[in-house]
Structure formats: C-alpha cells, structure tokens
C-alpha cells in the first residue's frame, strides 16, 4: 500500500526536468523601451486599459487570458515575439492597431512583469537586502549559494535575477511550497540495503535512480535497487514564513538584492 500511495507523487516528479536555475530567458532585446521606466509607465496605462481585463492587472491571468508571468517559465518569448503577438493577435486575442512606439511601451511593461528581474527597474535597496540575505534573520545562505558562498542544499541563486521575473522570485520566497517549486529539492532520508543511511536533498528521482546531495554538499548517485527505504517530504524544506518573518521593507530589499544576481553582471555579489 505504501508503494501505491507514493505513485502519484513520483509521477509528478517525472513531469519536471530538475535543473540548476540558470538561463531561462531567450535574449536581450535591443529596443530602447525595454527597461526604460517612462516606457514601462506608458505601457502600464495601455495594459490596464486594454489587456488587464483578460490577463489580470499584474499579468497573473484571468478568466479569458493566460498568466503571462508564469508562462514565461515554461515558454519564454523574446521581446520581438511579444511585439508580434500584440500586433497580430493570437487565437482569441485580437490584433491591435497601436503604432510601433506604443506597442513597444506595452512590450516594455510586459517585459517588466515577465522578463528577468535584472533587466528591469526593481524597487528597494539592494545593499540593505544583501545584509538581510546574509544575516541570521532571513538565513538564506544556510541553504542557498551565490557565487560559491553559502549552502548547497537549496538551488544556487547566482543567476536568479538573470533568469526569473521579479514576481516569480517573490512568489518562491513568500510561498515556496506553492505549486511545484520544491520539486527536485525535497528533504530525503535514504536507507540503503547495505545499512548505510544518507540524509540530504533529493535532486532528481525516478523509479530506478535517485540523486541526493548530502548535508556536506556531496553528490550521491543512488540506484533504487540498492535502496531499502526512502523517506521523502511532501513539501519544501524551505521555511514558509518569510512574509511574517520579514517586514514589508525588508522583503522588498531582499528581492531587490536577489533581482541583481545575474551571471552576466560585472559586479561581485558579495
């Protein structure tokens, strides 16, 4: 029975490739509207007037239009492609008659929602956020590393700003157990048939093999035929109380710091 109980969970695991968190975005756009606060402000107005009805005011999706922010994770579009979807429409979405510059303003706004955080203006004080990140109150570095510093149990965050929209980073800090964020990072205990016991994070798992990073950061490639018992958590090992643990300002600053983490940024993170 226990084996059967585990099956749906294992099936969910297959669905996601479990990868280091790098390089999700397609390309850097060359249009000057991208990342330009004035263009984004102008685009916001256009979006609220014509797009928010279907896609939601924050691009988070509505009854008739998809979630633009989440969509960027599994099907990223280049800015040029977003431009052409706005111009020509797609499926039930109508074409528009906006001139080029206004269309680019709209793209700039959507980019600010869906593009990597490091390419967009982000509120908050990254220097204050840095202190929060590395300090005891948030304790991020216990599990996460940035450019070689910090723990190795959680995903590396060296490129989190260069690969994720701000809204997605925010969601994974505040609601780490939501949806499938934790998959590929479940706390796990493995008892091998030879008596050895391993404790760590299950990075990748199938019916036949399991990759486990132990508490010292060492990788173990385990064949399931060698496993006597696997105990695995059904949720994230990450604390779920950051919305309470940090003040609104602290959270904003922490996000501002994370938004700056980009492997293509010249300045060092520490």
């Amino acid at each position: 029975m226990r084996v059967f109980a585990a099956t749906p969970f294992a099936a969910a695991l297959f669905a996601l490739p479990v990868l280091a968190q790098h390089g999700m975005y397609l390309s850097d756009s060359k249009n000057p509207a991208i990342g330009n606060p004035e263009a984004i402000a102008a685009g916001t107005k256009l979006f609220m007037g014509s797009c928010a009805g279907c896609h939601g005011p924050d691009g988070g999706g509505g009854a008739r239009g998809p979630n633009l922010v989440r969509r960027s994770l599994w099907h990223p579009l280049s800015d040029e492609n977003i431009f052409s979807v706005i111009r020509n429409g797609v499926a039930d979405m109508p074409a528009t008659k906006l001139p080029d510059d206004q269309t680019w303003n709209l793209v700039a706004f959507i980019h600010s929602l869906t593009g990597p955080a490091s390419t967009n203006p982000v509120p908050g004080d990254p220097a204050a956020g840095k202190a929060i990140y590395w300090g005891a109150k948030a304790g991020c570095a216990n599990c996460h590393s940035i450019r070689g510093q910090g723990g190795s149990m959680g995903p590396d965050l060296s490129n989190i700003g260069g690969s994720r929209p701000l809204a997605v980073i925010r969601e994974s800090v505040v609601e780490p157990a939501k949806d499938l964020y934790y998959l590929g990072n479940e706390a796990a205990t493995v008892e091998l048939k030879n008596g050895q016991k391993l404790e760590g994070v299950a990075k990748n798992r199938s019916n036949y093999s399991l990759q486990l990073v132990d508490t010292k950061g060492a990788l173990h490639l385990i064949q399931m035929r060698d496993v006597k018992k696997l105990t695995i958590s059904d949720t994230t090992p990450m604390p779920t109380d950051f919305a309470k643990r940090l003040s609104r300002t602290e959270l904003r600053d922490l996000l501002a710091y994370l938004a700056k983490q980009d492997i293509r940024s010249k300045e060092s993170a520490q």
């Binding site: 975005y25 070689g148 590396d156 060296s158 990759q211 990788l219 064949q223 949720t235 090992p237």
Partner: protein, 533 residues
C-alpha cells in the same frame, strides 16, 4: 532554521573527494580527468574489461540527448561516474551509469557563436569557457556557480572553443577566431579565482623578435590556439600548437614566415615564457593550422632514445621533434597525396613546389583546406607502441581575394573548396614515422571523430557514416560497430564505475555510452514513505 541543524546532526559519509594534480597526472583509469585523458595527449585507457575478444558483446547502455544540440564536439570529462559534457555556452552533468541528467548550467546570453570542445576539472570544481571568453567554475556536485570571469575581449576578434587544461592549479585557456583576424594567445588563470597569472601571445608585437616576419597586419596575425595542448610535468612544459596566419589565403599582404603561426610552442607552465618554437608551415596560405595536439612520448628515434613530441600536421606530414630542445628529428608523409611540398628538409622546413599560392582562378592543391588531419583526437597505445591518427585523403581549390583585408569582418583573404576524399584511420610507428596498418572508411569526408585506445587492445573511434566502431589495435581489424544515426563530430572517452567499463561518445546531438551486455533485472520498488509537514 531547524532543518539545517537537523541535517547537521545526521551527517554521514566521508569527506568530499577532491581532484588533485597527481590524480590528473596519473592519466586515465576509472576517471577521465583531462581533455586527452593524459597530460601527454595519449587518449589511452588502461581499462581492459572490454577487450578484443569480448567487444562484440558491447551494447548501448544509455543515451542523453543534449537539448538543442547540433554538431557536438565535446569530449567528456569523467569523475566518479559523472560525465561532464559541454555544448556551446552550456554544460551538463550526467550520471555515467544511467545517462540521467544531474544538473546543467547554461549561459544563453553569451555574445558569440562557435563550438565547445570540453570541460576541465580541479578539486571540487568543473570548468568550461563561454564563446565570449568567460572562464566558468562550477561546483561539480550541484552545478552552482563559483565564479565566472572574462579573460579576453570578444570585441578584439577572440572567441573560445577549446577545453581548458588544468595543471598545478593553473587553468590554461586558448583563443579562437584566427580566420577573421585577431592576435592569438595562451593564458594561465588561477583555478581558485580565475585571475590572470600569465598571458603569452603567439604573434609578436611590432618591434619584438619575430615581428620582422610580418608586414603591417601583424596586430591581427591570427595564430589562434583553438585546441587543447599537452603538458610534461617533469619538464614543467606546456606544448601548444598554433593556427594559421591571417588573412588565411592571401599571403602577399604578410611577407615572411609569419611567426609563430602554424607552429608548436613549448612554454614554461609557471611563467608562460617560450622555451622554444618550431614552425611547421612557414607563411601558410592554405589554412593549415598546426592543430592537432602534440603527443609526448619517450621513444627511440634514429637509434637514439629521445624525449620526443609527435605531431600529425594538417599540411600532410607527420613530425617528430625533441621536446627538450625543439630539435627537428624527422618528418614523414601522413597521407599519399601531397602536392605543395616535395618533402621536409634536414632542418624541418618544407621543400615547397612552385605555384602553390591560392590564385584568383583557383589552385588545386592536396591536402584540402580540411587538412591531412585536423583536431580529431589521436591516441597512442603503449601496448602496441602505435599512434592512431584519423587522416583525410582529399584535395581542393584555393582562391585568393585581392580585396583589402579587414579584421573581424569574416574576411579570410579568399576561400577554399574541397571535393570527394576519403577518411582513413592510420596506425603509425613513432620510431620510424611509417604506417603499420590502415582502416579506410566509406563516406563523404565529413566526420570529425577522434580515437581512444585501451589496454584491452582496442581502438574506439567513429567512421565517416555515423558508426561508432571498435578496431583491433594490433592490426586494424574491424571488431564491432553501432550506428548512432547521425554524424559523429567528437572523440570517445573510456571510464569505469562500479567495476564496469564504459565507452562514451558525443554524436551530433546526444551522448551515447556503451558497455558489455548484461541481462536486464527486475527492480523492485523500495519502501517509500512520504512525510507530511
């Protein structure tokens, strides 16, 4: 906050293993720790579980399809059963027993195009370079970024394609882009920080010794170092080959020998200082880079024991030099049809035939622009005492453009075409430079696969039609082949995990790993307990 403490209380296992200089210097075994398997460039494995008698029982064990890959050129690094395979601007850690992806790191915003030929490993880090010259160091267990540091400017025409070579904590990186105008160099970077330790240009600056062998284009002279070199720990010397002078096909704008293009350089590992050089093709006008890599071997040549360096050159000749002094010892034809030089003289300089320069109408010359051999990995097998080299019997037309050369505009001073041709795997005797046997292949001369040879008396390679193959190292007899269904453009490696030997090779789009047949076994599901939070 509680969980890290919990983890800490349940510590198990031993200290995390670190790849040391000694381990790399020992050469390939269970692991494959440097581009050519050994610092001496042998691509040789002492493993012998798979041998000439049982290789017919070899079957594919797994395939890993590298996302979006085309024409992979990566030679995997293997440590403790994990393969590290590169594609341009990305690297993949794959379980060597199952082919499952462990992690990947990608940098899709790199600002250049080009191939990538492999990774390097040192202590607990894995290294590769991006097309736009960042050295990237990653935690080998998790793929987490440790540092990435740009060491050269893509705006000066330099890109990166080769696998770094790490010796004594120095990461040696080369330079690509010699066909478009750039100044070639070799650099040593700190494995700990990526800081520059030394940089040695392969083309002298104006006024420096050797600059008299150039005209005004010396600043863009090429001499790229686009393939990994080799290293002699005892002499503490790096052996690195250099590419063609620029512009490739128009020699009239660069009068002289064009030092140190198309050469072998011997450099001190600690300082990068040049100990000696040897130029194979002075004033090259046929894009005959001096890749492939130099093979280091102590052997008897002309009755005298030598610390030799062997080099199969794109220009059609197979060279032997003294690697202590750089003295030229011998050159023999690598292929049957060489029409640009009658031979090599006693000092090592080619005896050129007339009318070999590319022209406006085109000049028909053998070998072709691809060369008599290229960057396909050679291997030396101490058991047979033979060196295995992929060669190409092919001729081609060479054209010269009279257009004013402009660097970094994709201009090479002309062009070349090649026609027909045949790939032939040849076994050479390093003592004499003569062929012992050969294995001709059917195909269009498009393969780029190298070789690996083992103590099991086998050579693994690929043919010119997408077959991975095994030959008897003694006589070249075909023993086994497997069709991967697409062209092979990389060299195989051999490794072992859990007492089982594997041979792995990247095809155009995937990594294949092979081993001896074992009947499948049913895997019972273990007890899995899901813990509710």
């Amino acid at each position: 906050m509680i969980r890290p403490v919990l983890f800490a209380l349940l510590l198990t296992g031993s200290a995390v293993a670190q790849v040391s200089h000694e381990e790399i210097a020992k050469g390939a075994g269970e692991n494959w720790l440097t581009y050519a398997g050994t610092y001496s460039g042998w691509r040789y494995s002492p493993l012998q579980q798979i041998n000439a008698a049982n290789v017919r029982n070899v079957v594919p064990k797994w395939v890993y399809h590298v996302p979006g890959a085309r024409g992979l050129q990566s030679s995997p690094i293997v440590y403790q059963g994990v393969l590290y395979v590169t594609a341009p601007n990305s690297i993949y850690a794959v379980d060597g027993r199952t082919g499952r992806l462990i992690w990947r790191y990608a940098d899709p915003r790199a600002k250049a195009n080009g191939a990538n030929r492999g990774a390097a490993i040192w202590q607990d880090k894995v290294y590769f370079t991006t097309t736009d010259n960042y050295l990237v160091a990653l935690n080998r267990h998790t793929g987490a970024l440790i540092f990435n540091k740009q060491y050269a400017d893509v705006a000066k025409g330099t890109t990166s394609t080769s696998a770094p070579v790490i010796a004594k904590g120095k990461v040696i990186v080369g330079s690509s882009g010699g066909d478009g105008g750039m100044r070639g160099f070799l650099m040593a970077l700190s494995a700990d920080t990526g800081e520059e330790l030394w940089k040695t240009y392969t083309i002298p600056a104006k006024g420096e010794k050797g600059s008299e062998t150039w005209g005004d284009l010396i600043d863009w002279g090429g001499g790229a170092t686009w393939l990994s070199g080799t290293y002699d720990p005892e002499l503490n010397t790096l052996y690195w080959t250099t590419g063609n002078p620029w512009p490739d096909y128009n020699g009239s704008v660069r009068p002289g020998d064009n030092l140190y293009s198309c050469s072998l350089l011997a450099l001190d590992l600690d300082t990068g200082k040049m100990k000696w050089y040897f130029q194979f093709t002075p004033h090259d006008t046929h894009d005959w880079d001096a890749q492939s890599w130099p093979v280091l071997l102590d052997t008897e040549i002309a009755g005298k024991p030598r610390k030799a360096v062997l080099h199969a050159n794109r220009n059609g000749f197979f060279y032997a030099l003294d690697r202590v002094t750089g003295e030229f010892l011998r050159a023999t034809p690598l292929i049957d049809k060489v029409t640009w030089a009658k031979g090599i003289d006693a000092k090592g300089r080619p005896i050129e035939l007339p009318n070999i320069e590319p022209s406006a109408e085109g000049r028909w010359i053998c070998p072709s622009v691809k060369g008599a051999t290229n960057w396909m990995g050679q291997s030396y097998n101490p058991g047979t005492g033979l060196l295995y080299v992929l060669t190409l019997e092919q001729c081609g037309m060479y054209f010269r453009s009279s257009q004013q050369p402009q660097p970094m505009k994709n201009f090479s001073g002309g062009g070349a075409t090649e026609e027909g041709g045949q790939v032939i795997l040849r076994a050479l005797n390093p003592k004499t430079g003569l062929r012992v046997w050969e294995y001709p292949m059917t195909g269009l001369g498009r393969m780029w696969t190298g070789t690996v040879s083992t103590a099991g008396g086998i050579i693994f390679s690929g043919d010119d039609d997408g077959n991975v193959l095994a030959l008897d190292a003694k006589n070249g007899k075909h023993l086994w082949h497997f069709n991967v269904g697409e062209m092979l453009t990389a060299s195989p490696v051999v490794y072992s995990i859990d007492g089982k030997q594997y041979v792995a090779i990247a095809s155009a789009s995937a990594v294949f790993s092979f081993g001896l047949f074992e009947p499948a076994e049913s895997i019972a599901s273990p007890v899995i307990e899901i813990k509710k939070k």
